[in-house]
Symmetry: D2
């Protein structure tokens, strides 16, 4: 449904053509400084129309905090947030209405809810993600103060153009150690920090735009400075919660953590991350990090990193032979201009969902640590 998280919990509402979209964030730590200025930057990064790589609709997406703060501090009570929809009128592409868009949610929403929203896929609209990003910004602020947690997502693949993301390659581990949002944004709207491929990625997207087509991509995300002990086996392992979060993002088709799919080819003797004693932190750490910062479902203090593939956008202006709702063969060509690649815009959404998972995991684990300190 539309609630995510247990102790740090967001509930969202809103479609593309209703009055507003928004969310309620419950469980926010009380006494934390919080104003719209903490939230708007990620919302603006999520916003379409930032460049010719994205759809030209310019929604201003100004967030307004409704409740839960006073004099710039959180009260510990639920934080209501609203972003008005500027486009509240029904859509304008009437002949498309007879067709469920292939690989979009039009058909399945109708099957599920028995009613067709004028926008087709109802909550499958990208505007649904505004509430996630707003809530994630609050989670991030808490995590920052907790242990300077840094969450940075970036584009590692567009179509066939990819930067190296092999976890066994020290160069990639170096990127994971040093990448920042500033570096990601410095790459421009493509959000790929590897200058050797970023240009090609832009061309790839432009090529498909020219063909009225679309193309997929991969977002990789790293989380640094994570406390050990996060994650709740056996069903709520930290990677399971991250996977849940990432696969809930529109257009995502997978998830891999650490060495992921490629790692299955590596024997245990090479894949295992041996321990060493780290003089700086006075703790055990691992020499390599094929595990991706999680072992047995629990964070081990190393960088958490994972990748999420996003499929090519379903709505394209190219003609597609398909069938109408009534079952008649026909050809659909979506009117209007459509985003040929949603992948770069997914970056702040991936960051937001990661922040929500972590903030919740921290609250759960800290209650356990407290309890243990009492009984042991």
């Amino acid at each position: 449904m539309s609630t995510f998280g247990q102790l740090f919990r967001v509930t969202t509402y809103g479609e593309s053509h209703c009055k507003s979209v928004g969310c309620i964030v419950d469980g926010v730590p009380p006494g934390m400084s919080l104003t719209e200025d903490d939230i708007q930057p990620q919302l603006s990064r999520r916003r379409p129309g930032q460049s010719k790589l994205s759809t030209p609709r310019n929604e201003k997406d100004k967030v307004e905090i409704q409740s839960g703060t006073e004099f710039g501090k959180t009260l510990g009570t639920p934080i209501g947030m609203i972003v008005k929809n500027e486009d509240q009128r029904p859509h304008d592409y009437s002949d498309m209405d007879n067709y469920p868009r292939p690989s979009h949610a039009d058909f399945t929403y109708l099957e599920k809810y028995g009613i067709k929203a004028s926008s087709g896929g109802g909550r499958s609209s990208a505007r649904e993600t505004i509430g996630r990003v707003a809530a994630g910004a609050i989670a991030e602020k808490f995590l920052k103060q907790l242990s300077n947690v840094e969450i940075v997502a970036f584009v590692t693949q567009i179509g066939t153009i990819k930067m190296d993301r092999n976890p066994l390659d020290p160069k990639f581990q170096h990127i994971l150690n040093t990448i920042t949002r500033e570096k990601v944004d410095a790459a421009g709207p493509i959000r790929c920090p590897d200058a050797s491929v970023a240009g090609d990625m832009v061309h790839e997207i432009e090529k498909y735009r020219g063909e009225k087509d679309s193309i997929g991509g991969v977002v990789t995300c790293v989380i640094r400075n994570v406390p050990t002990g996060l994650g709740e086996p056996c069903f709520d392992k930290l990677e399971a919660l991250l996977a849940h979060a990432m696969l809930s993002i529109p257009a995502s088709k997978g998830f891999e953590i650490g060495s992921g799919f490629a790692g299955v080819e590596v024997p245990g003797s090479k894949h295992n991350d041996p321990f060493f004693y780290d003089e700086d932190s006075k703790k055990l750490r691992t020499k390599t990090n094929n595990s991706g910062g999680i072992q047995g479902g629990i964070s081990n203090g190393e960088n958490i990193y994972f990748s999420v593939p996003f499929k090519s956008a379903a709505t394209i202006s190219q003609e597609q032979p398909t069938a109408t709702y009534d079952g008649k063969d026909g050809v659909l060509a979506a009117k209007g201009r459509h985003d040929p690649s949603v992948t770069p815009r997914a970056v702040p959404i991936v960051e937001a969902m990661a922040a929500l998972v972590l903030a919740d995991a921290v609250l759960l684990q800290k209650s356990r640590e407290f309890a243990q300190s009492i009984v042991a």
Copy 2:
């Protein structure tokens, strides 16, 4: 934590060296025939020691239903199930005790819970999965009666040896349409239905066993005859729940549905699944199935299929330079014989978790359909 599911819900308990492992399954439909005979087959498929491909420990793993049935019928009340641990004594490998096993859960469990179970990783033991498989068998029985839902998982990769699992290849789609558990088991303990690679997979495992090493693999799973409308956007999309379930299985490192990671290279014009009217079912169906049976987070009636990578097992008898809990450098060589590849044994666990996700999704959706029938 140790509860999974909302309306069809399992809660599990048990480590490797305690008295028993088991689960409570709540929300089972009342009036359904159910005895241990419905559950034991999948438990036996999960059991180690079935062949030289697996660890030789022969645990009999007989399930005993404690409650919730009478005269072979479910009462609608919680079903308690127990499987006794035959090996209840503490483990016998004492010198290993000074070392957290690299990439195992020993270190993180200690960090999280502040206490070290004699078995090291506590609930990270493979025996934890017994409760999942037992519960999954009940879910499956319900799904079978619902719409003849068929869930079949199989091994598609061991190390570098892989069978084709390209969704755009009609041959692979044919396998997804026709694979059965009987065919999977006919392949022997390797559980790969492609005879052209199954032998190589066995050799791959044997090679690593010979080297006191381990190797990873991939399990692919197909679910056929799924009703449309399952999945609860925006956070509990069906693929999100499946990903959550799969990443909660020990040693899993990822999840991809439909075209997954490879699909990002395919432009929308080819990736989109066009609709056609199916005379047999009198419904819209899709000509291709790159979506993997789910669109917008909701099942569309086509086959659901996904793949899950399992890393090489962490416990190997080969010597590993690492550090002790105390931070001293040393060399660990695990005593005893260890399973060089957990992948084939993951097959019934993947099936069980898929069944649990689907049974829960069905109950949720059917309550909505009822409600809609009242108000519309």
Copy 3:
């Protein structure tokens, strides 16, 4: 926290002096007619300032649906609702600020959240209940269409003035069978349908107002035409969920169902409700209804009725010797005019919470009935 319900689920936000209060209602049946006109009437009944019996602040409390409907029909997606706060400025009674109001939530909110909202008790404000009432109105609309479920609450006691609510008295059972909201409102703002005591109740309230004091009361609620089978033993018995709901309302101090506290004096031979075969409904029914419509935690189809005591309002203008936050003895006299009895205004809130419990219970039970129809 601020979410209530499992399948039919409301999440609320908002304090007394923030921008708006509101809620998100998830799980609303799709395809149901719904506009603000369905929601406003109960909000208006909840509104203060309806008469001299209540506080004179006149908040207009106009609800605005933000999402989840189109062309007057629900989409099955979350329904966001907002009611603007007219009084968004900080409060004006500055010398009171040094005192935690006795028996109010000022002290405990500070203990819990470590921060003091300018309004003192944060979410303990009566405005918090607006979201409940708005959500409850939607639940009620569904229940009405389900089986003409009727939920009517009314005042049965103010201070020492009480109408008979003895369940063994056929006269009271007759009232439960016939009371309507129209009759309740016809009694005026006191909302007591028994004309023989309603006038005295008004005088009781006026007396305490004159003394700058406050007084408590009891609200009784009946729910008619309830389907059998609702409630989820063993922990979520229907009466347990109702009790949870009622004790979550500000100022409530208890709950009793059916014969309640008085019933413990009645021996089983008299208290038990014998069955008879009802020719009209072709079902077993009970001759008496001391159980209050629920047996073993499950609805039996008879009227559900229960009572909820509301304590005298904590904020009074009379001088109260107490202590400041700093621990200094002093005398507090709340400025402004305060509601001497919140009981009559609790009527629509009790109805709303009852509707939310029932709608959720219906959805849960209907999914079970479906499942059973498949397997039996």
Copy 4:
């Protein structure tokens, strides 16, 4: 359903005639000493057959911990517990089978689940409460170590015989301050610490036993040394969770906290609990405690006390004119010997449920306090 609690969470299973009853307790603090000896005492207090006041069936009810502890310490993993049913055969009263017992759960269970357990009411069996008591004992052990939390329940009414439980009476507050389980048990099986009425209560029960009838009663419970800040407004106020817990106990019909129903007659000027500065604790405390230790849904550090009415037992051997399942008039007289008053046996169950609510509330609040310490 059969799970209770969020962070400290119990899931139970078992009917009266199945193999065993038991539970899984998740979220238990790791590193806590725990053996069966911590759990058995409360189970033995719950056990029937302790005297002629109760049913003579002597079930030994020996609990066996299955998992989650090692060498007498908790591991932080789920604790499975089992109590074997000695009476596993189907029941012996065959002619009763045609009748749903009036005011028992036989009829409603059949309506809900569509299947009739041989024991009639399935999970409405008193044996269902064994899992609650076992889990509650663990919660209590944690609370004891937290802040020496003391939970003592006792019988304050049987039929018309009652001890004073007026919260405005200092004598009653003195009892709440000083009552212990030892004093309660010293009163014998009646569990009423007021010697001036305990004998009459025993006679009352004996009278109804002689008449093959049954009688109800009230259990009052006090919780001392509660930390401030527990409870999660607005829906999970501490009293709401306690009410939920208490109304989930078989045969309970209500709940009142602090001044409860009687308190509505007391004006605010007398009902409000004024603050004073307590030199001992260096904190604000209240001079009176009409609130019952909770204000605004949050514990204020004073004693929490509440009362729960239990109806007369439904199963009586006296003849009852009623109807068969088939709708035929007839007379039912239950065979066997039946407990004429379940109230005294409810004492440890009330204590257990109170402990479960508190342990969960503590874990929630402590995670918030941690978060606040980070951000403020």
